[in-house]
Symmetry: D2
Subunit: 138 residues, 4 copies
């Protein structure tokens, strides 16, 4: 029996719901026992610089945040606003789809801590983040 409170289809629907997520094009691509995976296709509007062409750190931060957030949602059965987010950028991301994996570090009644990694097409880790989420009434 899974510790997850949402099915793949339920979580996939929630991932698509936000207008900003629709614009990013993010899709749930795996819901495992311990991790979720979200894939984001490339858009030229993601560029931070053109020569050389790099993806913008703000887009990567959004992908990390939502992957950590939906890892919490999978386990808790509900969304939770981000209290704080800390991103480490490990290497520049060139144009191309990105893949994020999110996992829960601690799920409490009031707060959750989660982390996520983002990988490029060559499976190189380009960034990693940790975040705290507010789970509701204290």
């Amino acid at each position: 029996m899974s510790v997850n409170q949402l099915s793949f289809d339920e979580l996939a629907e929630r991932v698509r719901r936000a207008p900003y997520h629709k614009w990013l094009g993010v899709e749930l691509t795996a819901l495992d026992e311990d991790e979720i995976e979200i894939t984001m296709p490339w858009r030229d509007e993601f560029l931070s610089s053109i020569d050389p062409p790099y993806g913008h750190g703000g887009v990567i931060a959004a992908l990390l945040d939502l992957a950590a957030d939906f890892a919490v949602a999978a386990r808790a059965g509900r969304g939770a606003p981000t209290v704080d987010l800390r991103v480490d950028y490990l290497r520049a991301a060139g144009p191309g789809p990105l893949r994020a994996r999110g996992r829960v570090l601690r799920l409490g009644r009031s707060l959750a801590t989660a982390e996520a990694d983002v990988f490029d097409q060559g499976d190189r880790k380009v960034a990693t983040a940790r975040a705290v989420f507010f789970m509701g009434k204290a």
Copy 2:
């Protein structure tokens, strides 16, 4: 004499340059001795939820990152990649333009530390961030 190495027009042009910045619509609106101000108009694609309508944390993270980054660029005369970024979300941001103010905490030869705040239309601080930037050759 200003400690800034770039004029308002030079910095404004750089703020507009990135394709992601064009999409966000960000514009330099002030370049003071100690701070820069960047204004971002509203787009419906920024929404994280529709009912109630909230701006997405990832868009706010991008605005904080670029305000801190261009505060460094104003003083150093050149851009610098983000090493890490830490965002505290203080309140939900409803639809409407956002205004960011960035300032340098430390400008070194190899590294810079800067911070930025984001305010909503009612001048309420909705989020604040600190970031480290790499000033040398990557």
Copy 3:
């Protein structure tokens, strides 16, 4: 009328109470409307390196954490455990007393966000931090 819920003497007594605080030697030296100040005398056990002699980042992190925490306690009237702490080290601290100033960024029913700066004897800022505190029942 002050927004603070504790008097100087009440807060000063709480600052001294923890065994680790006794060892650090920290003392409340100011309780203003917006900020508190905590002073920490020097101990040779604080050294991270001997030649050149630098204070240890872990000691500075503790001072930042407790200055932010007691800024919250002054306003809330009660202590609150640290959820997360993020420290930026701005310059090496040589031997000598350190002074921390803490202030609240947001005081909510469930969570508080606060920040603190640490200054050396020459009033140079050596480090700065932000932290989230849990205000409810754990």
Copy 4:
């Protein structure tokens, strides 16, 4: 052949060297290919509160920082000052020895990113941290 540039005995000697580390009592207890382990015995001066008795977050932050730092030192063959440190506290640590495991996320010529976890006697993870270190000339 190991990717580590220091032997167990060389790293163990460096871990003991700082006066603050002597006071903490930290000892290197493992140097693996990917991780180092540092063990810290209990001292009553570590207490943050007496009833119930909890270890102080500042002591845990120091242990996390040094475990991440020496994971970098093992790989790089030299020490590196901490640029920033971000700690997530996951549960209260009661009295008793703590064990930290540190690992490198990225080792660059100018900067390194590393992380560490701290475990209590019951092998519960009590805190986790990430940090950036400055590796020298940019």
